[in-house]
Structures are given as structure tokens and as C-alpha cells.
């Protein structure tokens, strides 16, 4: 059992007080001096050629300082280097309703609004491609002719592992189904916002609501033709991201360009409607899936054919395309798998990464099918899952390396706590209980940019006053990453939490970090912070021994240096690189409660720091994290690789109203293997948040388009659940530490969401005997399914 002082203790988030009292500054709360207001003119058409664009009248309006059009920013950008297909302002053609066409910088918002109306655009509508199925047909005028594909296919992935035909032949039950999913939006609280400060010599400081300051930094430099060192990106407090702020965006590039053009500071905050138009939410999906189950051996084969509608541009789409398949290789072993996914372009707002990226919709299908197959074989669906879950220390058929896997304990505990076996199949008509499981990455092992930079770097300084500053490029987007970084440093140094300040999300002050997406920060930035703290501890240990006039105890021989595994070693060798969840600091010193103890002598931490800085001055150390080399050598082998995976199970209880079709989720029991929970308060917050978001997609959320125009671009008409819909929640999350996670931690931000949705569907089956295959599972669909079942009975 560990003896942590800070780790694993509910810890108030470092910024929670200032947020609660309204003092925290979000991007729109900043006021860069004398800023011009930026407004964007957006396309009213889904697909058209721009035959004329006249800005003279707008420019002539008093108070207008500049008007930008596509030719002012002639390059394209995109978060993935392999698919930079998006202009900041439309160049010659528009590809979705809402695409930026021109932008104005003016002295006031009212003048900017008036100027937008004075910009004259002539469009020649071209046939819009709105139906993803039709996007695969030959097209005379594809949305992206530069791809030379002759249709609107963006990315197609085909993978096959094992003998799929044999797998299905050996299965005792084979089930299949078609599933469809509406597009959903992140619906974060804070809309996108950017403020740009231009220095007298033309350097830019860009304050932006972004999850990844580093990617924005790179994109701005490329799009503006300004060297990286002339741009500083700062992320103020962020009101939620969920993937929707992980790409660089047109408005950020436009605001920066307008600052350069006018020499003035600029600012822009998107309206809620513009947030919906900017979207980058979950891809609408249709898929067919087939699953073979053997009562003794588990899943024998799985095949999936998936079509995802990417909207007008690429965003993270290539990754999404892979994730729809490769993330089906857990939480149960799958010995044979064939997978086909097409991502198509359509004339609609862009889809991208959203909490549970790429895994949520296909997970729904696989978990509903697992349920069907288990019941077909007369197996208890929870017992069957429990039996077939991945063990730890294993490789999947597509070479994903699973290290810790604590879900067997998690699911069995959840079954007991929810009294599964007393309830399943035994509740009165209209009441039901269902189960579903999943797994998710703790950061992608393969960085997007193969530029050799560590995935995370953390720098620490300690000065004469004993205050430790943690510099990290990671972005706290409300999830509490600053807090866990501070916790880890406090734990290693044995000092009070109040000694630590975290400076993060600033590309000038902080070393590069790949940012907050794919649930990577705790694992990667956390390891970097812990490594930096261990280095600092060694410095302080030397000073303490000097002060006490005793020899520095020998450190443990570095026969298995902690860097060896983190810096390399392919999958099969990983066991030999075992270091334990929190490697013994091996210096024979005890750092705790602000005291440093060596060989029975104790000295105060502050005294040691004062001594340490005499001579060398401020002490600085740094730590890095690089994923081990993982994975196979086949095409696309990099997708889905992660240094560790989280596992989740839901047992969900519902009441279905047979007259109205309403599903009421009464209670969920959630078991989530996040390794060692670092901050239980944050873990619980992430679980609750995932349940709220998953509940929305499950029951009510969906962006409604008509002729490519969104019809419910407001938080009144786009329905996210109210507190009344939230179920009672029972959480189980302390399910063992991971050997490579910092202090044994894995992710908790995303993986929780996916299995909630199929657990609801499976509970509905238990309640009223219908299998729902269309998400959201709105009451009218429930009623229609019940009617159909009655008709065929």
C-alpha cells in the first residue's frame, strides 16, 4: 500500500476559487488595449463558387480598419500535417453553410456588423453533396478536386487481422446489425474566443481558447509567414474543450492576420451559433457490424463496415477513421477482425475530435451486438463480459500493448453493488438493467508531428523562497491538469501544495507540450513533471547532505534507468523494463511534510533550498516524456497505440414509459480503471461530466441540418441534458496502478463516455424487449421500435 501525502487525496483544483468567485479570466474577459473588433462574414450556401467579392463599400465605412478575403491568406491549414486542406477564408468557393468568406476589423462591434452587410458577394451555387452515401458516387465537381479522387471520399481504411471467416465459422452465435448516429457537438460553456496583441516591432501574442497552444503556434507561423519566435500563444482559463478546441481555427488565423495588417490589437468571440457552425464535433455515422461469440472462448470474429460524414474539411478525420476500428480491439480479445471505414467529405460544417474520439459510435454497435450474442447463447451478458475481458500484460491482434487492466475487479464490483444478478431479466416490464464495457487510450503513442520533440516536457524552478514553479505547455482546459501536475511535484518533494505554482499553456514561457487531447496530459505531462521533480529532489538531496555534513547516499544503480523504457523498447521487451508505478527515489532520503530526513537527521525544506541556491542561484530541472516504441509494422499500425489504456464498465438502470417511449436513466454504476486516481475530486468530476455528455448523445442530442444549414444552433434548441435527467451515480475507480503511468495513473477524461450509451440501450432491451440501433434514442424511436416488435411478435 502506498503512503502518499497528496496523490490520491481529494484536492481542490488550483483555479477553482477564482473561477467560483468570478475572478478567473477567460479569453473574452481579457481586454487587450484598444482592440479592433473582428467579425466574420460566413457563407449562406453549402456549395457555391464565389464569382465576385467586393469589399470597397465596407472599407469605406468610417471605423473599418481592414477587410480580409481568401486571397489575403492564400495557404491552407489543418491539424494533421497529412491533410491540410482548409483555408482560413474561402478561396473561390464555399464548402459549407457558415464557412468564413471575409472578415472585418473595426473600431466597434456595431461598425463591424454594418461592414459585413456592405461586403458584396456573388455566389454561383453548385450542387451540394449532403448525403454521405452519395459522397462515394462519382462526382463531376468534388468538394476537394485537389485529391484527384473523382468522388468525395476523404480517407478509406481497410484492415484485416486473423482468419475472419474461420472466426465466424467457429462462433456459436453470430449477430449483426445496422446502426446510425446523428452528429453531436461538444456544447462547451465558453465559446471560441481569441485576442491578439501586436508589439511595436510586429511580434504577436495570441490569447486563445485552445486545447493545444503548440498546434496553434505552428499553424499561425505557417499561415502568416511569421517565424515561430515572433509568435507567442497563451491559453487563458478555458471553459471546456472536449476536442472542440484542439484544432487551429480560421478565426484565430484571421484575428492574427488582421492585427498584422492593421498594426492594432484585435479580438473576436464567436456567438453560440458560430460555435455550432465551427463544430468539429462527433462524426455522423452509419455502420454495419457483425460479431461472432463462442460461449467458452469469447469473441471469435468481428467485422465492421463504417461510413463517417466528415463535413467539408479534414480536421482530425484520418485519425477518426482509424479509431472507429482499431479501438474495437478491447476491452475483450478479438482474434479475427476485419474493418472498413470511409470518411467522406460533404458540404456541411467540419467534424473532428470529440470526447471518446472515434470510439463512441462503433462501441455502441459492438456492445449491443455482444449483448445480443450473449443472450442468444443463454449467457448472462455481464458474466460473459467479465469472463472475456482482457487480462493485463497482453497484446491485441492489432499489436496494441495492454499493460494494466483492472476492469475484471471493476465490473465484478459493479455487478455486486448494482445487484446485477438479482435484477437482470427479473425486473417488471418497463424497468431494465443493462451493461456495457469499453477501453480507451491514455494519449496517442505516436505524435502528430514527427519532429523528434518529446511529447511532454516540464521545467521546474525553485528559488530562495522555496516556491517551486512548474512550467508546462499542457493546457488546463478545466479538467484539472494544472492541479495534478502540482500534486505530483508536491508528492515527490514532500512540500505543501501552497509552495507550488503552475505556469502552463504559454508557448513563450513553457516548454513544448502536445496539448490536451486524446487523454494524454495526466499520463504524459504527468510523467514529465514527475521526472522533473525527481531531478529537483536529487539536487535538494545533495544540498541537504552538504548542510548536514554527511555523504550523499548512493542512488540505486541505474541498471534499469527510468528513461530506458520511456525512451524506447518495443512491445515484447516491455516486461524487462518494469519499474513499478512509482519508482523508489532510491536516494535514502525521506522528503515529507516540508522536512528532509537523512540517516535519522532532519532538516527543514526551506533551509535546504536556501542553502542549495547559494552559489548556483535558482535551481532548474526538467523532465520529459516520450512514449515507448510500440506497435506492428503494417500500414496504419500507429493508430490506437497508447502507452496505457483505461477500461470502463457501466451497469445502467432505466425506466421506459411504454406509452410515451421516454427513457429515464435512474441509476448508473460506473467502474473505471484509471490506474491510481491522482485527484479523486477530479476523477469524479470527469466521470460525472462524461455521464452527462454521454446521456445527451444517448437520449436527445443531435445537430439537425436542412439543405446543409443547421436548424438548432442554440442551446435552447440543441438539447443537452438538464440536471433533472442526471441519474444517481455510483462510482468505482480505484482499480490498481499502471506500471508506467505517473504514480500509476491512466486517463479518465474520455473513456468513460462510450459504454454509457450502449448500456442504456441494453437496459432498454431488458425493460421492454426492443433493440435500439439509432442514436439518439429519442422517445419516438423507442415507441416505433416497440410497435414494430409487437407487430412481428
Amino acid at each position: 500500500m502506498n503512503d502518499y501525502r497528496v496523490i490520491g487525496k481529494p484536492t481542490e483544483m488550483v483555479s477553482s476559487r477564482e473561477k467560483v468567485i468570478g475572478r478567473a479570466k477567460y479569453t473574452d474577459d481579457l481586454s487587450v488595449a484598444n482592440a479592433l473588433i473582428v467579425k466574420i462574414l460566413r457563407s449562406p450556401l453549402a456549395s457555391a463558387r464565389i464569382t465576385a467579392l467586393r469589399t470597397e463599400k465596407a472599407l469605406a465605412l468610417v471605423g473599418v480598419r481592414a477587410v480580409l478575403v481568401g486571397s489575403d491568406l492564400p495557404k491552407t491549414f489543418g491539424v494533421l500535417p497529412i491533410s491540410r486542406d482548409e483555408p482560413a477564408l474561402a478561396m473561390g468557393r464555399v464548402r459549407y453553410v457558415g464557412e468564413p468568406v471575409a472578415a472585418v476589423a473595426a473600431e466597434t462591434a456595431a461598425i463591424a456588423e454594418r461592414a459585413l452587410k456592405l461586403i458584396e458577394v456573388e455566389y454561383e451555387p453548385t450542387g451540394a453533396c449532403l448525403d454521405p452515401k452519395k459522397a462515394l458516387e462519382p462526382a463531376a465537381d468534388p468538394i476537394h478536386p485537389e485529391l484527384n479522387k473523382g468522388n468525395n471520399l476523404h480517407k478509406s481504411v481497410r484492415q484485416e487481422f486473423g482468419d475472419v471467416a474461420k472466426g465466424f465459422a467457429e462462433a456459436q452465435a453470430v449477430v449483426e446489425g445496422s446502426f446510425d448516429f446523428m452528429p453531436v457537438n461538444h456544447a462547451f460553456t465558453e465559446p471560441h474566443a481569441t485576442q491578439v496583441e501586436i508589439s511595436a516591432d510586429g511580434g504577436l501574442t495570441v490569447y486563445s481558447a485552445t486545447q493545444v497552444p503548440h498546434y496553434l503556434h505552428l499553424a499561425l507561423s505557417d499561415m502568416l509567414g511569421l517565424p515561430l519566435h515572433r509568435i507567442r500563444v497563451v491559453k487563458p482559463h478555458l471553459g471546456g474543450g472536449f476536442g472542440g478546441k484542439s484544432d487551429p481555427f480560421p478565426h484565430e488565423i484571421i484575428a492574427a492576420k488582421l492585427a498584422l495588417v492593421t498594426g492594432r490589437n484585435t479580438r473576436i468571440t464567436l456567438s453560440r451559433k458560430e460555435v455550432f457552425l465551427t463544430n468539429h464535433g462527433r462524426h455522423p455515422t452509419t455502420l454495419q457490424m457483425k460479431l461472432g461469440l463462442h460461449a467458452e472462448k469469447g469473441i471469435s470474429a468481428l467485422s465492421a463496415d463504417v461510413l463517417i460524414d466528415g463535413g467539408a474539411y479534414a480536421s482530425f478525420g484520418v485519425v477518426t477513421t482509424y479509431y472507429n476500428g482499431v479501438l474495437l480491439m478491447g476491452p475483450y480479445p478479438v482474434p479475427a477482425f476485419s474493418f472498413h471505414c470511409d470518411r467522406v467529405y460533404t458540404n456541411k460544417p467540419i467534424c473532428g475530435a470529440m470526447r471518446g474520439h472515434g470510439s463512441v459510435n462503433s462501441r455502441f454497435a459492438s456492445e449491443v451486438l455482444f449483448d445480443m450474442a450473449a443472450m442468444k447463447l443463454g449467457l448472462d451478458p455481464a458474466e460473459a463480459r467479465l469472463r472475456f475481458l482482457h487480462d493485463g500484460d497482453t497484446l491485441t491482434i492489432n499489436q496494441l500493448r495492454i499493460t494494466s487492466a483492472g476492469l475484471k475487479l471493476g465490473l465484478s464490483t459493479a455487478m455486486k453493488r448494482a445487484r446485477w444478478s438479482e435484477k437482470h431479466g427479473r425486473l417488471p416490464y418497463g424497468k431494465g438493467i443493462g451493461v456495457a464495457c469499453s477501453f480507451f487510450i491514455s494519449g496517442s503513442a505516436l505524435p502528430i508531428h514527427r519532429d523528434g520533440l518529446p511529447q511532454s516536457q516540464v521545467r521546474l524552478t525553485v528559488d530562495f523562497d522555496g516556491a517551486v514553479t512548474v512550467y508546462s505547455g499542457a493546457a488546463d482546459i478545466g479538467q484539472g491538469s494544472d492541479t495534478v501536475l502540482a500534486q505530483m511535484v508536491a508528492e515527490v518533494l514532500g512540500i505543501p501544495f501552497s509552495c507550488i505554482t503552475v505556469v502552463s499553456g504559454d508557448t513563450r514561457l513553457c516548454p513544448v507540450d502536445m496539448g490536451s487531447y486524446s487523454s494524454r496530459v495526466t499520463f504524459m505531462a504527468g510523467n514529465a513533471a514527475r521526472n522533473a521533480a525527481i531531478s529537483l529532489r536529487r539536487e535538494l538531496a545533495r544540498a541537504a547532505c552538504d548542510l548536514l555534513k554527511i555523504p550523499v547516499p548512493a542512488a540505486r544503480p541505474a541498471s534499469e534507468p527510468e528513461s530506458s523504457f520511456r525512451l524506447g523498447g518495443r512491445a515484447p521487451e516491455w516486461k524487462s523494463a518494469y519499474l513499478g508505478p512509482n519508482p523508489d527515489f532510491s536516494d535514502g532520503l525521506d522528503f515529507r511534510d516540508g522536512k528532509i530526513t537523512v540517516s535519522g537527521k532532519t532538516v527543514d525544506y526551506f533551509v535546504v533550498v536556501k542553502h542549495a541556491v547559494q552559489g548556483p542561484g535558482v535551481i532548474q530541472t526538467s523532465g520529459i516524456y516520450i512514449s515507448p516504441k510500440l506497435g506492428g509494422t503494417f500500414k496504419g499500425a500507429g493508430a490506437g497505440l497508447s502507452p496505457a489504456y483505461s477500461f470502463t464498465a457501466f451497469i445502467t438502470e432505466v425506466v421506459v414509459d411504454p406509452e410515451t417511449g421516454f427513457i429515464r436513466v435512474e441509476k448508473v454504476t460506473c467502474a473505471h480503471d484509471c490506474g491510481q486516481p491522482l485527484n479523486p475530486l477530479a476523477v469524479e468530476g470527469q466521470i460525472e461530466g462524461s455521464i452527462h455528455m454521454g446521456l445527451g448523445q444517448a437520449l436527445m442530442e443531435g445537430m439537425i441540418y436542412e439543405d446543409g444549414a443547421i436548424q438548432n444552433a442554440s442551446l435552447l434548441d440543441y438539447k443537452i441534458p438538464s440536471p433533472f435527467e442526471m441519474p444517481e451515480i455510483d462510482m468505482i475507480y480505484d482499480l490498481g496502478a499502471d506500471n508506467e503511468g505517473p504514480f500509476g495513473a491512466k486517463e479518465v477524461g474520455e473513456g468513460v463516455l462510450a459504454p454509457l450509451i450502449p448500456s442504456i440501450a441494453n437496459a432498454v432491451y431488458d425493460a421492454v424487449g426492443v433493440r435500439l440501433t439509432s442514436v439518439p434514442m429519442t422517445p419516438d424511436k423507442v415507441l416505433a421500435a416497440m410497435r414494430e416488435a409487437k407487430g412481428s411478435a
Partner: protein
């Protein structure tokens, strides 16, 4: 949105004087929870003038008159209705229904009058300006088309099929409430049942220069009223369907009143009677409700589902009343 002037009258006479000098761009503001978002969403290009009713004590408050008639001021906040012991005693359905409107934060501002006069809603109207323009503005937005019923032409009646969404109107209709309206020419009283017009633009019989001042609810002893609401969330949303049902037994007869909102351009009021509680009578009421519901594609739920729910809710409400009555 730009506000040109703001008048805050303290008395009825001051208000009427203000209205007299008002132009077309003048709007009355009570809680503002409907008017302000609409002004922002519609993004009116020319500035508006507002007359705020918040200081008019005469128009606020709940009293019980000698005849056991309840009088509720139009600017009484929904939160006050929810918390009123007087209403809890004499008209609990109003308390319950008020609590189904929007959210607590909105109810702390929103008023009874505002709810009864809430603007009609339509997926094509309640859009930002650019969206409406992109589609071609509809009649209600000053254009010359209806996206719900493209065959409608100017001059047709009804012109606008935007739906009527006041929860409280449904209940007040079945309660037989009267609306007291004041204007330059004095005061007049209209039955709530006669007040609304089946057109999302004309909306009701309030004339220019008139103000809805008080709502009178006749004595409610001897009958039971129940309200059911269809919405995807347990809060926030306007009714996709709202059904108020009233049952009154007397002289060997059971009289049933039904009002539904959320579907048509005006609330629908129905009456029927039978010898007593019977499944047939309940079914008849449900069928009548469904027949009169004319939903269009204006909402998250499909028109056919909403129509069906009218029947489900009428049955449900009547059965609840029957059960409550037969309970000891």
C-alpha cells in the same frame, strides 16, 4: 440590438400615456425573458423603444376577491405564483404548471402576462438573422414565404403556422379564466378562450395601445384540473405538447374540458360531457384532442409523435383525476 429609449411608468395612467406616444418599434417589457432573447436573435437593425412594467405595483400580485375569484396581476412573476400559499390553496394546478415553465432562473424574472403573450415559435423563425435570410425570410420575419407550408400565399388565413407555446394558457383556458385588458378607451374583459388567434403573426386580440393587466380565475371548487407536458428535458424547454384537462361532476353529468398548446398556432379548447367516468368518455376526449392537433415539423419530435402524445396525455390526465377522486 439597440435600445433607443426606456420608459418605466409607475402607474397605469402613466403607462397608458407612454403607450399613446409609442411608435411601431415600441415593445412592452415585463420579465424580458422572451422579449430580450428575441430582440437579440432577430437582431432588429433599427433601434427599439422599451416600456418596462416592473415598477407598476398595480399590475403585480395575487388576491382573492369576495366571490372567491382569484385575481393575478399580469406582471406577477412565475416564481411568486409557484410560492403563493393562496394559489396553492385555491388553484394548485397553476402552482404546479408554473413550475414546469423554463427554469428557476427564468421563472424568477418571467411573468404571468409574459407567459400568456409569449411569442409563437417556429424552427424557421427562431433562427439568427442570416439563417432566416439564407432560407428566404418567412412571413413572420417580414418575408413572403412559409417554410412549413410552402403553398401558403400572402392573404391566406392563417398566414403563419408558428406554434403557440404558453403552458399557463392551457390551464387558464380550462379554468375559464378571464383576461382584463386596459387601454386608452378604458377596460375590457375577454374570456381566455376567446383571446387567441390562430395565426402566429396576429397572435391574439390585444389591440395596439392595450395592455393585459390582470387575469381572473373563477372559483375552482368542485372540479379537478391536471396539466401534462411533453418535452425532452425535465426543465428549460417549451412544451412540444401541453395538455390541460378539467373534470367537473354535477347533476348526474361529468363535464370534461381539454386545452392543448404547443401544436397549433393557437391553443385549442374542447368540451365534452358524459353520464360519468367511463373509459369510453376518456377515449372520446383523447380522440377529439388528437383530431384537433395539427402539428407541423417545427420541433425535435416528429408531428405524428406529438399528435399521438396529445391522446396519451389526455388519457393520462383524466385517469389521474379519476384515480384522485376515487381515492379515499
Amino acid at each position: 440590438m439597440e435600445i433607443r429609449s426606456l420608459l418605466q411608468p409607475g402607474s397605469l395612467s402613466e403607462l397608458l400615456r407612454g403607450i399613446e406616444t409609442a411608435d411601431d418599434k415600441t415593445m412592452l417589457l415585463a420579465g424580458g425573458t422572451d422579449v430580450i432573447p428575441m430582440l437579440k436573435q432577430v437582431g432588429l437593425s433599427s433601434p427599439v423603444s422599451l416600456i418596462a412594467l416592473g415598477r407598476m405595483k398595480e399590475l403585480s400580485g395575487i388576491t382573492l376577491e369576495d366571490t372567491h375569484t382569484l385575481r393575478i396581476g399580469a406582471t406577477t412573476r412565475l416564481m411568486e405564483i409557484q410560492a403563493s400559499p393562496l394559489l396553492q390553496k385555491h388553484c394548485p394546478v397553476l402552482v404546479a404548471t408554473a413550475s414546469h415553465v423554463a427554469t428557476a432562473a427564468i421563472r424568477s424574472r418571467a411573468t404571468l402576462g409574459g407567459n400568456l403573450l409569449v411569442n409563437h415559435r417556429c424552427v424557421y423563425f427562431n433562427q439568427a438573422e442570416d439563417n432566416r435570410c439564407a432560407n428566404g425570410s418567412c412571413f413572420k420575419a417580414g418575408g413572403d414565404t412559409c417554410h412549413l407550408v410552402p403553398t401558403v400565399k400572402a392573404g391566406d388565413s392563417p398566414l403563419c403556422r408558428a406554434r403557440f407555446v404558453s403552458d399557463l394558457a392551457a390551464v387558464l383556458l380550462v379554468l375559464g379564466a378571464r383576461l382584463r385588458i386596459v387601454g386608452r378607451g378604458g377596460e375590457r374583459t375577454l374570456e381566455a378562450r376567446d383571446f387567441y388567434l390562430p395565426d402566429g403573426m396576429a397572435r391574439n386580440r390585444l389591440e395596439k395601445g392595450e395592455v393585459l393587466a390582470w387575469v381572473e380565475v373563477p372559483p375552482t371548487a368542485g372540479h379537478s384540473v391536471h396539466y401534462e407536458k411533453l418535452r425532452i428535458r425535465g426543465a428549460i424547454d417549451f412544451p412540444s405538447v401541453g395538455v390541460a384537462v378539467r373534470a367537473e361532476a354535477g347533476a348526474g353529468q361529468l363535464r370534461i374540458g381539454v386545452a392543448h398548446v404547443g401544436l397549433n398556432a393557437a391553443p385549442v379548447w374542447l368540451e365534452l360531457s358524459g353520464a360519468g367516468w367511463s373509459d369510453e368518455l376518456i377515449e372520446k376526449a383523447a380522440q377529439k384532442g388528437v383530431r384537433t392537433a395539427k402539428p407541423l415539423k417545427q420541433d425535435l419530435f416528429s408531428p405524428s409523435y406529438r399528435r399521438e402524445m396529445v391522446g396519451v396525455f389526455i388519457r393520462r390526465a383524466l385517469k389521474r383525476i379519476r384515480e384522485a377522486r376515487s381515492a379515499p
